[in-house]
């Protein structure tokens, strides 16, 4: 059997342990910490007509796009719990919403994330809309005098719009720093580095964007169980997958 060529992610070689679970979880914790600080310090001061962006919800959605189920769910529940401790609403509601959003988004993206910025933004839009809707439904159930339609018009939609703007900015930042922009840049990215470029020349059979910053315990961005790598809008010829296989371990290819 011919030996599979090895792909080296320049980020791996440059930083050595970027893909180690400890580093990934540390990065996730840092993201969560920043999101909480932003929600407590920045969000109230950038409110427009009493509409406050939900930066934590956006962060959970973006993280869930990139992480596996377990990491995303833990991330969502933890941030939701911290939010409940510091906010003014019902205790437990935001942890419920963020757990739901994180699990659903990470399940939808499981093994099929294309690295497409537009798809990610659509995910963020849907996640924030349903998150705010759930909050509105609960608020209406608790307070029968609350006009549900008015809450959609005056709270759900404006907050979702504001969240989407924040989410778009965060996605752009994440894209720039993680090199998932294979399809955004219209090129095939192999491995990817912080500048989102090739670290290896050409490899027959196409490439993928399996590199960059990963969240979660295993690398599932590289391909599906069917063995076709379809990241970055490219399709592998001759089957096989780059970046991962069914067992979840990263695969490596040698340079030709």
């Amino acid at each position: 059997m011919a030996q599979m060529p090895v792909v080296r992610n320049s980020l791996h070689s440059a930083h050595g342990g970027m893909n180690k679970p400890g580093v990934r979880y540390l990065f996730m914790a840092l993201l969560g910490f920043i999101a909480i600080l932003a929600q407590l310090i920045i969000a109230p001061n950038i409110a427009i007509a009493q509409i406050v962006p939900n930066i934590i919800l956006v962060s959970v959605a973006i993280n869930a796009i990139r992480a596996n189920n377990i990491a995303a769910t833990i991330f969502g529940f933890s941030l939701g719990l911290i939010y409940d401790c510091t906010a003014a609403g019902a205790f437990g509601l935001m942890s419920l919403i963020l757990t739901l959003i994180a699990f659903i988004v990470s399940t939808l993206n499981k093994g099929t994330f294309t690295g497409n910025w537009l798809v990610a933004l659509i995910m963020v839009i849907l996640a924030t809309f349903f998150g705010e809707m759930i909050y509105g439904v609960f608020a209406s159930l608790v307070n029968p005098d609350l006009d549900f339609l008015a809450s959609i018009v005056y709270k759900v939609l404006p907050t979702t719009l504001y969240d989407v703007i924040i989410g778009g900015i965060l996605l752009a930042v994440v894209n720039l720093t993680s090199g998932i922009g294979g399809s955004v840049r219209g090129r095939q990215n192999v491995g990817g580095n912080v500048r989102g470029r090739h670290t290896i020349g050409t490899i027959s059979g196409g490439g993928n964007s399996a590199g960059g910053i990963h969240f979660g315990g295993d690398n599932r961005f590289g391909g599906s169980r069917a063995g076709l790598g379809k990241l970055g809008g490219t399709k592998l010829q001759g089957g096989g997958s780059l970046g991962s296989h069914a067992s979840g371990k990263p695969m490596q290819r040698k340079l030709h």
Partner: protein, 285 residues
């Protein structure tokens, strides 16, 4: 040997159930309990962050004020001058009435049942979400504050203390959808309930269609329920409408206080519990 990992769906179910349990406990606790204490402690811990946010927002607030002032038209200035003149004459008239009131009260032997003590506080931050209209102030339990105390601005009623930490407290505003204030109209003493809404407007509820209510009627607290003292100005009626089949009027009230127009508040920390009345001495009526 492979490590046994928790299935994601099981973890998700555990977290979901935990959230539902917390929600249930919160709902059953009322105004105090374990989760309320947890939130109080968390707000105490994060109070310095509110201070930081307030400090960082000062230059931006000043900039926006400068912008608003710079764009004020001549028409606006003229209007403000006229308003100022009108208010000055009202103040003079009210001062005279206050003095007369004092004389008459002394004559009748009435004791002010609502001598109110207050503590000044500064607003640290506004709500961190769109659904709850709350503010955080820089005074807490160490300053003698307690849950339920009314909060006022220089103009009128703002809200009520909802959670009290050691160094900071949260005030739920009267414009919040879950707030309700027992009021009466100054003109005809009709009683009703003033409620907040998702669009930030105050609605006056339970006012019968048979009542004569017009825009401009002043709304003040009635003292019913013992939460807010009687006689605090809240706002004025700006719109009265009804449809053919309605039993109650739809009344919109404009509050005298806009939470984004000031930075200091007063928390009413205490008042006399009872009224003392002395009969007029013989020879008088």
């Amino acid at each position: 040997m492979k490590k046994r990992r928790l299935p994601p769906s099981l973890l998700f179910t555990i977290f979901l159930l935990a959230s539902i349990v917390m929600l249930t406990i919160w709902a059953r606790e009322g105004t105090s309990g374990t989760l309320h204490n947890v939130r109080t402690v968390a707000q105490t811990v994060t109070a310095p962050l509110s201070h930081i946010g307030s400090f960082l927002a000062v230059p931006f607030r000043a900039l926006s004020n400068m912008g608003a002032d710079a764009t004020a038209t001549t028409e606006t200035l003229t209007e403000l001058r006229l308003q100022n003149d009108e208010l000055s004459s009202i103040v003079m008239r009210l001062e005279e009435e206050r003095l007369e009131n004092e004389r008459l009260s002394a004559l009748l032997g009435l004791v002010d049942a609502y001598s109110m003590q207050s503590t000044a506080a500064r607003i640290l931050s506004h709500s961190s979400d769109s659904w709850n209209q709350v503010i955080t102030i820089d005074k807490g339990a160490k300053d003698g504050l307690a849950v339920g105390m009314p909060v006022m601005s220089a103009n009128g009623l703002l809200g009520q203390l909802e959670t009290v930490g050691t160094f900071s407290s949260t005030v739920r505003l009267i414009t919040d959808p879950s707030s309700g204030v027992a009021i009466f109209l100054q003109a005809n003493r009709s009683e009703g309930i003033l409620s907040g809404s998702v669009d930030g407007i105050l609605y006056l509820n339970y006012m019968s269609v048979e009542l004569d209510i017009v825009p401009g009627d002043v709304v003040i607290t009635s003292g019913a329920g013992g939460v807010y003292p009687k006689g605090i100005v809240i706002g004025e009626v700006v719109n009265v409408s009804k449809s053919v089949s309605d039993v109650y009027l739809t009344i919109i009230v404009k509050p005298v206080t806009r939470v984004d127009s000031f930075e200091e508040v007063a928390v009413l920390t205490g008042r006399q519990a009872s009224v003392t009345y002395k009969p007029i001495s013989s020879g008088g009526n």
